[in-house]
């Protein structure tokens, strides 16, 4: 994207690159080179602190603009999507209605996509389960931000309790967990939140050998990241942008063992 970072990179450019660095847009080599410069330059270190503080304040404090009631319905009507069901109630129901439509609309595609290669079928089920959870009155079976509550809840419900880490400090609070059914077997799914977005993280026993360590895909507008750790295939799905979902995956993978 830009010139390599090295000792002769002008300070101005380093200041600019701090943004890219904090946004996860620098490649590893340049990120390391920039970190070195920041360590040895108090001006850069102060700038990094300022920007990081601002990013955090924006991320944590600026509320999402809620969708005005009725807007979704008017759009569905204009496009010819809805069958004019009245839906007062909270926006949650409005969201559920549109998700329901997406599910109904895409179920044909779902069955077509049921061929069993490199986890495609699992991916379809992951998307379905995520959508179904969003449609349910609550997207989670156990609602808690305490991993010491969530983890034991899975005992006896799924063959294996999942790894649960606390990422609230990083802007991804745990909100709970639920059981999904993937390929006919119960699977623990953790639910995290980032801003107004829900992330479902399912831990599936990995039966497909020789799969790539980490893969990404987009299905029906949702981003999915899959990776394998210790024989468990993790699937993260969200309507978050891929940068944020990648950041979540990085944090989850880097978190210390429980």
């Amino acid at each position: 994207m830009t010139n390599p970072v090295n000792a002769s990179t002008p300070a101005d450019e380093s200041l600019l690159l701090i943004h890219a660095y904090l946004d996860g847009e620098l490649d590893p080599a340049n990120a390391i080179a920039l970190e070195r410069r920041i360590e040895s330059d108090p001006v850069l270190a102060a700038e990094r602190m300022r920007i990081e503080t601002l990013r955090r304040a924006l991320r944590e404090r600026v509320a999402v603009k809620p969708l005005p009631p009725g807007l979704r319905g008017r759009i569905e009507k204009a496009i010819g999507l809805s069958r004019a069901q009245p839906k007062p109630g909270p926006s949650w129901r409005a969201l559920a209605a549109s998700v329901a439509l997406a599910v109904i609309a895409s179920s044909g595609a779902t069955f077509l996509a049921l061929h069993d290669a490199t986890g495609d079928r699992v991916a379809v089920e992951i998307v379905d389960d995520h959508l179904r959870a969003l449609m349910a009155p609550a997207p989670i079976d156990v609602r808690s931000s305490d991993r010491h509550t969530v983890k034991p809840w899975f005992n006896g419900r799924t063959p294996q309790a999942p790894r649960v880490v606390d990422l609230a400090q990083d802007g991804f609070p745990l909100v709970g967990g639920r059981i999904d059914v993937i390929a006919g077997a119960p699977v623990p799914t953790l639910v995290y939140q980032h801003r107004e977005h829900i992330i479902s993280l399912s831990a599936v026993l990995d039966t497909i050998k020789a799969t790539p360590p980490e893969s990404r895909r987009t299905m029906r507008g949702y981003n999915l990241v899959r990776w394998v750790d210790n024989g468990i295939a993790y699937w993260a799905i969200s309507d978050l942008g891929s940068t944020d979902l990648d950041a979540f995956v990085r944090l989850f993978r880097a978190a210390p063992p429980e």
């Binding site: 994207m1 200041l15 001006v43 940068t243």
Partner: protein, 181 residues
């Protein structure tokens, strides 16, 4: 492609991003009523233009249309919001990337100010940013798009995204500081 297929694709590709679409429209127009009009119009445009969506990044595609629609709306209703920016960018280009060391190395009080700024102050400061800085900041810091996605949505090179974002954030910090003192 039949109308039913179109509707199905619309439900799959565009509807999941309605929240982001509305939020962007709100930040660009500055109020709910206009944002609703923009989003409705954008959805109709998106529906008519579905053939142009590859489906690989439906969110960026949707937001691109929302932004276009918002700009048309601003052009009709708030010409002043659109024009001022180019002049401003030229001025800023001259000074932007030479922040004096005195400013940059004044860390703690300022960092504390930012850390303490409440939601209302942050939102007011964002609303005061010139349009093109504001949209870049909103797309990155509130909606989490990658630089290349922002480049796609705002139709500028990635380098411009980087410099706009840097300036947007610097200005935001200034606004929060001025507001406080």
């Amino acid at each position: 492609m039949s109308g039913d297929d179109d509707r199905k694709r619309f439900a799959e590709l565009v509807m999941p991003h309605l929240g982001d679409a509305y939020a962007l429209a709100h930040w660009l127009t500055g109020n709910q009523a206009d944002a609703e009009d923009v989003v409705q119009e954008a959805c109709l445009r998106a529906f008519r233009g579905l053939a142009g969506c590859a489906g690989t990044n439906a969110r960026a595609w949707t937001l691109t249309i929302v932004r276009h629609t918002a700009y048309s709306w601003l052009g009709k209703n708030r010409r002043s919001a659109l024009v001022a920016v180019d002049d401003l960018e030229a001025v800023e280009r001259a000074q932007a990337l030479s922040p004096d060391a005195a400013v940059a190395s004044r860390p703690t009080p300022e960092t504390e100010l930012i850390a303490k700024a409440d939601a209302a102050r942050l939102e007011a400061a964002i609303a005061m940013l010139p349009l093109q800085f504001r949209e870049t900041l909103v797309l990155r810091d509130l909606q989490g798009l990658q630089y290349r996605e922002i480049a796609e949505v705002t139709a500028v090179p990635v380098g411009t995204v980087m410099s706009r974002l840097a300036r947007a954030r610097a200005r935001l910090i200034d606004l929060i500081r001025v507001d406080e003192s």
